[in-house]
């Protein structure tokens, strides 16, 4: 992305984020497969590990994780104004969908086609997210240190320890390792 954004660049960020918002069912991590496909694979605006960083920070801050992640992505791509453009882009589809659905929501809840569609969508979201862990893992789990931390964190997350503590734990481990290697030198 260029340093000074033109209107065309903002529109492009808005359009990509709008598409991501439209096909994200479930907040937070459900966005990841599309973020990684659009920004790391298709336009190569971000490196895979940058997406990992963005989600780690988004998850550690108060606020809605998906909005935090959109803001951070936008900021990384083009500064503060771009952050708002990205956040509005990713949330506008849900806003518009909810406005219409709320008008006749009883029929929506009871509609059997929508229930069937949601069963398919939920299964697909789990599958696409599994693929994304695989991809992001390839860039971050490339040495013994990484695998050890991963192996420590996994049982804790499955025991539903708050993700914020796990991220802070990883941070402490990274800082401790630096302190130790510095002292040895």
């Amino acid at each position: 992305m260029p340093d000074s954004l033109k209107l065309r660049d903002y529109l492009r960020v808005f359009r990509v984020m709008f598409k991501i918002g439209l096909f994200t069912f479930g907040g937070g991590y459900a966005m990841l497969p599309q973020m990684s496909a659009e920004f790391a694979e298709r336009c190569k605006w971000l490196k895979p590990e940058e997406i990992t960083d963005i989600f780690a920070v988004a998850q550690s801050l108060p606020g809605v994780v998906a909005v935090n992640a959109s803001m951070l992505t936008g900021y990384r791509l083009g500064g503060r104004k771009c952050a708002f453009v990205a956040a509005l882009g990713s949330t506008l589809p849900s806003f518009l969908a909810l406005i219409f659905v709320t008008l006749g929501y009883q029929a929506f809840i009871e509609n059997r086609y929508i229930a069937g569609a949601m069963a398919g969508v939920r299964a697909a979201v789990a599958g696409t997210l599994a693929a994304t862990v695989f991809k992001l893992g390839k860039t971050t789990l490339n040495d013994r240190w990484g695998w050890r931390l991963f192996a420590l964190a996994l049982p804790l997350t499955l025991l539903s320890v708050n993700p914020v503590w796990i991220i802070l734990g990883g941070m402490a481990a990274g800082l401790a390792r630096r302190a130790v290697t510095k002292r040895i030198k």
Binding site: R122, A123, L136
Partner: protein, 172 residues
């Protein structure tokens, strides 16, 4: 005006407290809305169902639903902006420093510890989603095929859209 302001403030609180996922906020959100007499318990149950059936983060969807129901389109706008405002303010402050110091020795060594634990967090989210949604051979097949397609770099948006259409035809 006062309804709009009330919606904005309530949902700004909810947005601020959404630490570690919107679903964790659900009981608090339900209590605030019912205690203030803004919604009945049944309406909050519908709100949850709708928020899960529509695209987008749970907290944002719930805010739009509640705002729309209580004060129409302007109410929806007030509640949705409210729920997003804490994220706006906090990330606008943090992102400046984060990206500025990302390359510094201290932050990059912190990141070297954070990066490997993120896949574990996502894997746990996959586990939770799988336990709730993979109930038969059909849904397992959808999940496995989706996973394979995304590894082969098919755009996840198309995968999700196709799975939704197939579900509407075959699972209804």
């Amino acid at each position: 005006m006062s309804v709009l302001l009330e919606l904005f403030i309530i949902f700004a609180q909810i947005g601020f407290l959404t630490f570690g996922g919107g679903m964790a906020m659900l009981p608090v959100m339900q209590r605030i809305l019912t205690d203030r007499g803004l919604m009945t318990l049944q309406e909050t149950i519908d709100m949850v169902a709708i928020s899960q059936m529509t695209p987008g983060p749970f907290a944002v969807n719930a805010a739009t639903f509640a705002g729309m129901k209580l004060a129409g389109v302007w109410g929806a706008a007030a509640a949705t902006l409210g729920v997003m405002t804490p994220s706006f303010v906090i990330t606008a402050l943090v992102s400046h420093y984060f990206f500025k110091f990302k390359e510094s020795a201290l932050v990059s060594s912190a990141l070297s510890g954070i990066r490997p634990v993120v896949p574990a967090l996502i894997l746990a989210a996959v586990w939770g989603m799988g336990a709730a949604s993979l109930t038969d051979a059909w849904t397992w097949a959808v999940a496995l095929i989706s996973c394979g397609l995304v590894i082969k770099k098919v755009n996840p948006a198309w995968v999700i859209l196709t799975a939704g259409l197939l579900g509407a035809l075959l699972l209804s």
